[in-house]
Amino acid sequence: MRFARIAALALAATLPVAAQTLRVGLGEDPDVLDPSMARTFVGRIVFASLCDKLVDLDENMKIVPMLATSWEWSADGKALTMKLRPNVLFHDGEKLDAAAVKYSIERHKTIAGSNRKGELAPVTSVDVIDPLTVRFNLSGPFAPLIAVLTDRAGMIVSPKAAQALGEKFNTKPVCAGPFKFVERVAQDRIVVERFPQYWNKGAIHFDKVVYLPIVDATVRLANLKSGQLDFIERMAPSDVPAMKGDRRFRITQAVELGYQGITINISGNEHSQKNPLGKDARVREAFELSLDRDAIVQVAQDGEGLVGNQWVSPKNPWYAKSLPPPKRDVARAKALLKEAGVTNPSFTLMAGTTSDAQRVAQVVQAMAKDAGFDVKIQATEFATALKLADQGQFEAFVLAWSGRPDPDTNLYQFIFCKQPQNNAGYCNPQVDALLTQERVTNDAAARAKLFEQIAAQVHKDRPIIYLFHRHWISAYTAKLSGLKPVPDALVRLQDLKFN
């Protein structure tokens, strides 16, 4: 017996450490794996293993170095100079230098169908100062740029591979992340393996990562429980209580960067004129006062969300704390309606067909009724809803925005006059002026002050009534440690390991 034990130990010592694989369950199959073209959230989870970015976000939403080690704005705010990390290699062995950064940014800006064009629009050119220094030249000051570079726009691809593969780059993406691409079977799996020459290889503890798209949240959870997955993203809020009691698993809840709210058509077109909400700000205030945001989060999200009233959550450093969400006040709502001379206000609330959107619409309908509103819910399939919203053919619309790290990118295109996603049709020169100013201000404190002023005005005009921020809930085996709960909810593989 003793001999057998010694023999087993000796054998174990001679065997190499077993290759470790991390299996991640995704809520859907990602779209194209090309940082210029990609547009889905799950795609970003996969990119976290493949493509490092110039800068990254940390748990406190601070922008931290990644491929760039330091950066500096010019005095006029029209140029951003970045120092690059030395000795970084792409998966194909090519060097990552200033020329590669220039190439990637130009590719993002010019390749047909690029989703990065808009984000990088203020960048007019990129200069190579020396092999490890690049300068972004802008058409005018643009403070959100640095936050934009924490996402796909900041991902640097191997120029050699990108030139060779052209539009087919997504079939074999070559970047400078901790893992390199192995294979993809559509709707089945994406496999990546450890890149031995990764610049931060000491932080990487897995040999392989397999991403498996499993659409049904119950099945995704069952896979985690049966040990076939180590990590799942977007667990259903209703499963949280049961999982909290299970010591084999851990849960992280990150408040989303985006928001859930109701856009109101105040454009002055016939749809906004037809209903009292679109015509009179007092009626909108009455509507907002009829809502109990806590109850909405309880009903629509099983309590897994954070009540809010701005485009960033109260936990976000950019939240204007002086303007907290109003409490429900039905009496005041009724008084406002009386003041506005509106009896039995009625309007149509368009909501997507997902159960989340429908639940929000239903609970809003029930609450608003207490103040005398007659809300008709119009369940609309999402492509149709987008079209109707873009054409201004709606009265009010339950909307969700997944969010970006910079507050400007949660706000500008929805609020600034005549922006493509300004479905409310909101045009306030004062707000526009503040937005323009906020974009050219690199001083964080001054910017925060400007956002506070914008919030104060938007709260008066109410083109969008912000309601709450969902929790991104991920669950994983208790064996896993080192997970960083960054609010963008991506799975960063650095420091992640099995105990």
Binding site: G113, S114, N115, G118, V219, S226, A383
Partner: protein
Amino acid sequence: MGRFLAHRLAAIVPTLFLVSVLIFGLQQLLPGDPALAIAGEDRDESVVQHLREKFHLNDPIPVRYGYWIRDVLHGNLGESVRIQKPVTELILEKLPVTIELATLAMFFALVIGITAGIVSAVFKGTPFDYLANVVALWGLSTPNFWLGILLILLFSVQLGWLPASGYVSPFEDLKANLASMVMPAFVLGNAFAAVLMRHTRSAMLQVLSADYVRTARAKGLEERVVVLRHALRNALVPVITLGALEFGALLSGAVLTEQVFSIPGFGKLIVDAVFNRDYLVVQGVVLFTATVYVTLNLLADLAYFLVNPRMRG
């Protein structure tokens, strides 16, 4: 023979033409702007414009149909908008998975359905019969996704015997392949087993009261031989016909099952494509399926022609 074949082949062309017009037309009736739906949350104006141009969305519908059918005639079904992979490649990748699933489901259905049918016919009016009927009714009225999730909770989460979802190719690992297929195949075959059971039961009852069965019994044959050799053979004829017809239905019925068990098959391909407005995939898959049906029909006609001399005129 030559004339018959030429006649049949000539009929295929207008059929497929009509099918293609129908598929294309129905796709256009889907509400919403596909470019907006595909462009993602940002809906960047330049991306939307690019998509409209790439897929000729600014052109009138007949012109768009012309572009599509021209490519199809050149053997090019287009490319998935979402993952930029040729539709033909996707079809060839997914089809074998669904065929395997449907075949295994058929196996389950035949074994369970026919056995239960025989038992309930032979033991008509006994508790066995009632039990088989109750089980059949349950099988018919159980939704696939519900049964699928229950099985996953039992066999994967509680007992840990089978993988909860996913697919392994049989060429990679046959054992793992069967382990990943057994639950989905059972779920898919379950409802059909119930149909088969009902049909087997009524066919058996009819046959068991036929004169030749009485004669066989009068000859003193063992009941087992009477049932299995004499009665079952005749009773199975309509059941087998039904099975063959239902195989196609199993292929299309795999949609929900594949979704629940995350099996990357044909059904999941088309469902995901519909939801993502990946319309070239939808059109390609439906046209492919229609062509297969038409071809199979032609082969069946040919078989009749060869087997039945009266058709040769």
